[in-house]
Symmetry: C2
Subunit: 259 residues, 2 copies
DNA sequence: ATGCCTTTGTGAACGCGTGCACAAAGATGG
DNA sequence: CCATCTTTGTGCACGCGTTCACAAAGGCAT
């Protein structure tokens, strides 16, 4: 960055791109793609930042990790930048993906149009329910879990998506890892334990909603003066209390589908 | 992942609980709920941290923001902690939620069992497609977008979920906000612009996969020596180049459903 | 050429989040 | 009642990420 020009990531590529930056690259890529389709030749960091919903200084710094792809006084070449980011993210190659758990969510994912456009290809849909086997979802026949290992090996799949109930997530995860999967996108509301070298990213609707509720409550609490919740139930930190099943909660094992 | 918005120093309650901590509370709550069902009376920070997949010191510090709810030498009372966290997150009250866009994803969300258990109640399912109106999804009749404002007003809804295609997301968002919604969970792959005071959290499958691909590529790049991508297409930062539609990408407006 | 104007690239300061390490608090056993 | 052992609560330091602010770079007009 400082002196070194010729920023060609020839050797040990993409070494040291901050995680936070990596997480934003897809955002930039999306905005750039939109510009590209509108045949916009160049954009300034200011414009692009606005489109991506971030600070312009942050965007420039992010790009600086990739190299000097801008032109001072002008901005960035849209097409060129689209390619550079795509390459950096590894989207210039084909990524076969398997989706395990074809419930409501799994089906939604299978139908998701944003896959192919980004280099991701649904190699297989897998479910433990035998009655689903053979039935087409999004144009692809669902296969039984038994074939999981074979499918992964045959297609050289390295990315797996888990959309099963929480109860079977870890089990599925273990099989995926044993079969050679090294990246997992987990939609089940569970903490997955994986061996070193395997990446796991988690998407949890319930958590997102709870975070929103927190802020929502705070907003309400600002306007309204003071208001005590329901009944301050349980006991404060007392000694050992046997415990009772209590107002039977849910257990976080949604009968249908995690999200 | 999602993005927190609109920060507010808010002098009032919730003595400045760090955003990072708030994001982890649901995680702790889930682990605690599981323990509660197994009738475990107390847990140490070490055990709970392991169950939630975080560092024990971090967990203790998180809890310290809520107050001193633990007992030295013993640990935390599970039931009591469940209540405290629930209250802090605002889950002791009822949160009516509307889901807009009942495609594959919207239906999956409607069927999600983790809603009710956390104080969230699906007040209505809304879609712009007239042919869907009246049809039941997850036991709730889908209603037409026309009734959106009325529904929100009647039910006092403050949280909205957008599961529409990217193209109509902003429009839906505007109507939700105008109708009084102050928290939005957005599944559409678009940056929503909202007035101050409205929180937006985003869930984007495409982005998560791209981040996985990045790391996956890096892993592969470490083992394998050197390998050049396809053709270094476009031109480097040249002068003004008219531009051509190029290899028609996708445009990020998934025909079916965002995820 | 020369000077002006725009926009990048980045040094530096700042703030938040993380994790260590330990003293204080409390339980437990003698 | 005292000693010992366990586990919390937190002061502190460190590193990452964000943001500001500006010099350098390049285009463009004259």
């Amino acid at each position: 960055m400082a002196t070194g020009r010729n920023h060609r990531p020839a050797t040990s590529r993409s070494r040291g791109i901050p995680e936070a930056t990596v997480a934003r690259l897809p955002l930039y890529l999306r905005a750039l793609t939109a510009l590209s389709e509108r045949s916009v030749p160049t954009v300034s960091s200011e414009e692009l930042a606005a489109a991506a919903g971030v600070n312009s200084a942050k965007l420039r710094k992010d790009f600086s990790y990739l190299g000097s792809y801008g032109t001072r006084g002008v901005g960035y070449d849209v097409e060129y930048l689209v390619y550079q980011i795509s390459r950096e993210l590894g989207l210039t190659q084909d990524w076969p993906v398997v989706i395990v758990g074809i419930g409501n969510l799994g089906a939604a994912l299978a139908n998701y149009g944003g896959f192919a456009s980004r280099g991701f290809r649904v190699a297989a849909l897998i479910d433990a329910d035998p009655s689903l086997a053979g039935k087409p979802v999004a144009g692809i026949d669902v296969q039984h879990t038994d074939a999981l290992e074979q499918i992964i090996a045959d297609n050289g799949v390295s990315i797996g998506v888990i959309a099963t109930p929480a109860g079977s997530a870890q089990q599925v995860c273990d099989r995926l890892v044993a079969a050679g999967i090294t990246s997992i996108l987990n939609f089940a509301p569970t903490v997955l334990s994986v061996p070193e070298g395997v990446d796991v990213r988690k998407v949890d609707l319930s958590i997102e909603l709870q975070i929103l509720a927190f802020h929502e409550q705070r907003k309400a609490g600002e306007d309204a003066p003071e208001e005590e919740e329901t009944a301050p139930p349980a006991a404060p930190p007392a000694a050992a209390v046997t415990k009772r099943p209590g107002p039977g909660p849910d257990g976080d094992v949604p009968a249908v589908m995690p999200a």
